[in-house]
């Protein structure tokens, strides 16, 4: 038996098909993964993401610590609540995890992945040596993501007046506390929406209220196809400790300036940048019928081979899409091997759908 979130019983009562995800028993879908996907793109839905790990970083050295720990620079967070996406790298420049960090009133709130929890916490503690900083996990909270074009309006109707006001005021990629709730306008679907971190004891009632108000529960299956369409990486699939952020479409998350900021992995990344990165992460679109899957081989004529890191059927596009790591010189066409046959694919920017709009 895996770990359970405070909403485990509700998932069962809603008819979820449960699966193991990083040691947690999580809902894969509540009936139809494709319907849930459309629900989020067209209206909104609620995800239980309580398996994610919330870590509060505080102390007089918190800023300096995070400037050392992360490839992106928390000095860029100049307004309260502003969020930053970053890789946390090892000395070789490989990605230990990807995370979101919010500027809080008394420090920073960091949200890391569930499947990497133990190694992340160990690494964060080890790197804290020499800094005046406390790194505290928050196992007492739960987290719900309400995502979709109607998410903010619908949630605002169900919460207290101050929380509703905050939901209306939040800018994209900003998260602020209201009482013992933390409400962020962030997510992992490519749609507008919220991520709400609240006391674990309140999660079940709030989830019931959301579902009771017609906000459909959405499983991890749709979460995966939504993030794939949005071109958002999944840790462990699209990058890991042996992959540089430069080869994972995360170059934009590396703050090179100021040059004297010596974050973990900087030396390795600078050497890669000087030598020219040999691989890049791209999007693939299969125009024929079939489904692209992780680990299928990509062949680029005259250039070399690559590999699909994430692939699935895109419910919005009605065809299969993928993220693939390919030689840097790859152009607009490639081929993918599916069950021994080679299929032509289009190579595109790794972002297929955003805010309900098809980008390719």
């Amino acid at each position: 038996m895996g770990q359970r979130t405070p909403l485990y019983e509700q998932h069962l009562a809603l008819g979820a098909k449960m699966v193991d995800f990083g040691g947690w028993d999580m809902p894969l879908h509540y009936g139809s993964q494709v319907e849930e996907h459309h629900q989020v793109r067209r209206d909104c839905g609620v995800f239980d993401v309580s398996h994610m790990t919330v870590v509060d970083v505080a102390g007089s050295g918190a800023k300096a610590y995070l400037q050392h720990l992360l490839a992106n620079d928390v000095a860029r967070l100049t307004t309260l609540g502003k969020a930053l996406y970053s890789g946390m790298l090892n000395e070789r420049g490989g990605v230990i995890d990807d995370l979101i960090v919010y500027l809080a009133e008394d420090g920073y709130r960091v949200v890391v992945n569930a499947s990497t929890r133990d190694k992340d916490l160990a690494w964060m503690q080890a790197q804290a040596e020499g800094f005046e900083v406390s790194v505290e996990e928050r196992p007492d909270v739960a987290m719900l993501a309400i995502q979709g074009p109607q998410a903010r309006a619908k949630v605002a109707e169900l919460v207290s007046q101050p929380r509703a006001a905050l939901i209306h005021e939040l800018k994209p990629f900003q998260g602020l506390a209201e009482g013992d709730w933390f409400i962020g306008r962030t997510g992992y679907t490519g749609e507008d929406g919220l991520e709400i971190i609240l006391p674990a004891a309140e999660a079940s009632d709030f989830f019931c209220e959301l579902v009771g108000a017609g906000i459909a529960p959405i499983g991890l299956g749709a979460r995966d196809t939504l993030r794939l369409e949005a071109g958002l990486n999944l840790y462990g699939q699209d990058m890991d400790e042996n992959v540089s952020p430069l080869a994972a479409n995360m170059g934009w998350t590396i703050a090179w300036e100021p040059a004297e900021r010596d974050f973990v992995g900087r030396a390795a990344l600078e050497s890669q940048r000087r030598n020219g990165e040999s691989q890049k992460l791209v999007g693939l679109v299969l125009e024929e019928r079939g489904v692209l899957r992780a680990h299928q081989v990509v062949r680029v004529g005259g250039v070399g081979d690559g590999e699909i890191t994430s692939g699935s059927f895109s419910p919005t596009l009605g065809k299969s899409i993928a993220l693939a790591r390919v030689p840097a010189a790859t152009g607009e066409r490639a081929e993918v091997e599916i069950r021994g046959k080679w299929y032509p694919v289009r190579v595109v920017q790794p972002s297929f759908v955003r805010h309900g709009k098809v980008l390719i």
Binding site: L28, Q33, V34, G221, R289, G290, R293, P315, R339
Partner: protein, 129 residues
């Protein structure tokens, strides 16, 4: 609980087979199989005229989640394939026993008797779980 009609025969690999009045055998995948796969988004069918032996790969069904082979429950020649599934593979989820994949002319009707009946298939599914 999945639906297992008693007038069909089943393979442990989750295909159903129905003997038609004209002696041909129609093949599809069970309700249990479609439920385990989730939303079906792609179906690859055998070629008409192809000779299949029992247990041989006869096609592929892919859901959003995974790909799964379909096997011929009995040996024979493929007479017809349900090309409507190519355009609307989601039919398999809505109506697994109406959404047939292919029809074949069995080379040995006795092979049908080796397949599971409804209670045998139910027991086989339960032991998988």
């Amino acid at each position: 609980m999945s639906d297992i009609p008693s007038d069909l025969r089943y393979a442990a690999s989750h295909e159903w087979a129905r003997l038609e009045a004209d002696g041909s055998v129609t093949v599809g995948i069970s309700d249990h199989a479609q439920e385990a796969l989730g939303d079906v988004v792609f179906v690859e069918l055998p070629e008409v005229g192809q000779q299949l032996t029992a247990g041989q790969e006869a096609g592929v069904v892919e859901s959003v989640k995974a790909a799964s082979d379909i096997y011929a429950p009995v040996s024979g020649e493929v007479l017809e394939v349900n090309s409507a599934l190519t355009d609307s593979p989601e039919q398999v989820n809505g109506d697994p026993y109406g959404s047939w994949f292919f029809r074949l002319q069995p080379s040995d009707k006795a092979e049908l008797d080796k397949l599971l009946d409804a209670s045998g298939y139910k027991a086989s599914c339960d032991s998988d779980a």
